[in-house]
């Protein structure tokens, strides 16, 4: 129980997010209207993805320092969970964009290529592609130690280039997405009202903890499977 307090927090915060997020007061803005509640879900997915990718890189660094295969398993499963969060971020974003950005006079599919050109979407797509490539690279190498080493090197290299890039792209491409002028996502202080921030911050923590929880479960299964393999 002593080690599970954060799981309880995750559940409590997520229940709060759903209740306060769907029932709480939100400013009524033209165009956005009630879709603004998606903020508690869509934006939090990206926060969780970024945090989990960072955790994955930290474990890759720890692997290279210690050459303990445990850390390689950690790095992989945090990356996979982050990818799932990213895909959910895209899904929630697509639903949001369908009601706010898409041209209502045309079929939804016609707006797709215009919306997909947005620099924030490109940045997110690059991040996901890099980590898909990471998984492909892992599967391409059969030797366990070599696989761990090569994929850790790629993980660190890609992350080190990816993150400056995500900060650069929005500065050079035009965007409809909130938080312009070089901000990679949105300006928390000015774009979100005070009452919404009361739900938004707990929501980020709740979703991130949920991601960590999923990843740790997958890691435990993998470690058990590996133990069975070795004995």
């Amino acid at each position: 129980m002593r080690n599970n307090w954060w799981k309880i927090w995750s559940a409590v915060l997520l229940v709060y997010t759903f209740v306060a997020g769907l029932l709480g007061p939100v400013p009524s803005l033209p165009l956005l209207q009630e879709t603004i509640r998606n903020l508690y879900f869509h934006v939090c997915m990206w926060f969780a993805m970024m945090i989990l990718f960072t955790v994955s890189v930290v474990y890759s660094i720890r692997y290279l320092r210690t050459l303990d295969l445990k850390y390689d398993i950690y790095a992989r499963h945090f990356a996979v969970t982050a990818i799932v969060m990213g895909l959910l971020g895209y899904t929630t974003g697509a639903i949001w964009a369908a009601y706010t950005w898409a041209d209502p006079n045309k079929p939804l599919i016609n707006s797709f290529s215009t919306i997909a050109r947005d620099p924030k979407l490109i940045g997110a797509a690059i991040a996901l592609l890099v980590y898909f490539a990471y998984l492909i690279l892992r599967d391409a190498v059969t030797d366990i130690d070599k696989r761990a080493r090569i994929s850790a090197v790629y993980n660190i290299f890609a992350y080190a280039i990816l993150f400056p890039a995500i900060w650069i792209l929005p500065r050079i491409l035009p965007s409809l997405h909130p938080g312009n002028d070089g901000n990679p996502a949105l300006d928390v202080k000015n774009d979100i009202s005070a009452s919404m921030r009361l739900v938004f911050y707990p929501a980020i923590i709740g979703w991130t903890l949920l991601g960590v929880w999923i990843a740790t479960l997958k890691i435990r299964i993998q470690l058990l499977a590996d133990k069975k393999l070795m004995s």
Partner: protein
């Protein structure tokens, strides 16, 4: 420093002894350009720009892939006993940059000959092409090292490298499209950004290569 010079000399010597790969690359540029020449005549400036950079990307993969893939396991072991990882890597990076400088100049020349010349400010564009060639070669050299260690071919380099290179490519395309207009100027902060990214790539390669190098 002396070792670095010797390793670079070795690369140049190998290239001059096995010229098939160099001429193969030249032919690759020539035939690609000829296909483009047949497919479209006199493209608009924006299309010219896009074609040029995508073409340079594919040339880079073909030029750089060989650098690590050609080294057999035995030869790598031999280098391991002789030199330090940093010297070995820097020699490869330098050689690939030189190769890409040459190849990007040649493809620029052929592009202007066959597909027309949309440049209104030639000098900044040429500078960007050379800088772009170096940027591409740096990223793909390190990925070639990863691909070689994973015992994979050039295809995995493309998978690993394309997402990483997109931001730099977008920056380069943005900057170079400015040189197609008489009024716009190339923003120096963006050029500085590109140089900073290149430095970051070299640094990361130097830090991470020793882990790939040990078997």
């Amino acid at each position: 420093m002396n070792k670095l010079g010797k390793l670079l000399y070795k690369e140049l010597l190998l290239e001059s002894r096995q010229q098939y790969s160099f001429y193969g690359l030249l032919l690759y540029i020539g035939t690609t350009l000829f296909v483009l020449f047949m497919a479209i005549d006199q493209p608009a400036a924006a299309i010219w720009n896009g074609l040029f950079w995508v073409n340079l990307l594919f040339i880079c993969i073909n030029a750089v892939a060989k650098s690590f893939l050609q080294e057999s396991r035995g030869r790598m072991l031999y280098f391991y006993t002789l030199t330090h990882a940093t010297d070995f890597l820097l020699a490869k990076l330098l050689f690939n940059s030189l190769l890409m400088l040459l190849m990007s100049s040649i493809s620029l020349l052929l592009f202007t000959l066959l597909l027309g010349n949309p440049m209104l400010q030639a000098a900044p564009f040429i500078g960007l092409v050379l800088l772009g060639g170096i940027s591409l070669s740096l990223v793909f050299s390190f990925l070639a090292a990863i691909a070689a260690k994973a015992q994979q071919n050039a295809a995995i380099m493309a998978i690993l490298g394309f997402p990483i290179i997109i931001p730099q490519l977008v920056l380069l395309m943005r900057l170079s499209s400015a040189t197609f207009s008489p009024l716009l100027t190339v923003s120096w902060t963006s050029v500085a950004l590109l140089v900073a990214l290149d430095t970051l790539i070299v640094l990361m390669s130097v830090i991470l290569f020793p882990f790939l190098w040990k078997d």
